[in-house]
Each structure stands twice: as C-alpha cells, then as structure tokens.
Symmetry: C2
Subunit: 105 residues, 2 copies
C-alpha cells in the first residue's frame, strides 16, 4: 500500500493534486447569479455536463445561494485551465477557481 | 409523497432552506490559510466537529487551497448565525457564509 498516495484515508482526509495523480479537484465560485432559480442552476449545470468530457473534466456537485448570487462548483480534472474552458464554453465563465489539495469529512 | 418538499430528487436537484425544513445548508469561505497543511486542516475541522452539536450544526466536508489560502466548508444547521458561532468558538471565524437553496449533482 502506498501510504504517500493517500495517507489520510483512514481518517477521512484526502490529500494531493494534479501533480501527484494527474487529476486534481477544484472549487470554482461564480458571482452575479442573484435570483437564479434551482431550475436555472440545473440547466446551467447540464450545459457543463454535456461538454465536460471534451476537456477531461467532471463536475461533481454545484450549489447556489440566490440571495448573494454566489454559486460553487466542485469538479475534478487535469488542470484549472481545463475547468475554466468548460465553463467558458458553457457560457458562464469565472476567473475564481481554486485547486483543492486537501479534503476532510 | 410531498412533491413540494423535494421536487427535483429524481434529477439530482435538492431545493429548499431552513424555512422549509428547519435545517438549511451552508457554504462558508475562509481566507488567509496560505500554506496550511492537510494535517492542519484536519485539526481545525476536528475543532468544529467537537462542538458543532452545541449549535445543532453538522459540518459535512471541508476543502483547502493552500496556495490562495482559501478554505470552504459545507455544513447543515438551523441558521447562518449558528454556523458562524461554531467557527467563532473553534477559533477560525469567517464572515463569508452562504445559505444554499439548491444543489445539483
């Protein structure tokens, strides 16, 4: 067992990014979605899902706060730029994206 | 079956907040964690888990981007203020918290 690859699995900690695994995880943040409905979030998300494979990206979940207009997307993919390209092509670009090097639960 | 309570379950959409269910979901964002290690994220998260029940809150997951110093926490609880109090008591307050009225996957 390669302890370096996943040293924290037993305690619910994931560690590592694209350099280690060739696939990284990302959280991106969208602003300006004030008043967006759940149905509109679903529609926007489906646009991402429809084209994500062209960039080797997979969107796992997305959340919406329609009061502040913020949306958050959790994804995995080869690079930050790949995630950005999917959102660009889907018509909802954002410059705010973070590579997640640790996750706990 | 109450379709209003969960109209989008079949298509992977969750809708609703504390007003509907007495329990809402939140994403909060921390800044200034530049260089934080996965172990330090785990330690901070354990502080939240240790006291979350005093506020009726449950933290589900947290993610860290040590390069930007951003951390994201996904939680459920009775109110935004309850989530904030847990983070305050745990020693890592943040003013940036969003109530999530929709989630898609």
């Amino acid at each position: 067992m390669n302890r370096n690859a996943d040293p924290g699995e037993a305690e619910g900690t994931r560690i590592g990014g694209s350099e280690e695994f060739g696939m990284a995880r990302f959280m991106d943040v969208h602003s300006g979605f004030t008043g967006m409905t759940p149905g509109q979030l679903r529609q926007a998300y489906e646009l991402d899902l429809a084209i994500e494979s062209t960039e080797g990206v997979h969107f796992e979940r997305a959340w919406l706060d329609p009061e502040s207009g913020k949306a958050f997307c959790l994804s995995s993919g080869p690079s930050k730029e790949a995630v950005l390209r999917v959102h660009d092509k889907a018509g909802h670009p954002t410059a705010e994206i973070y590579e997640l090097l640790a996750e706990v639960e």
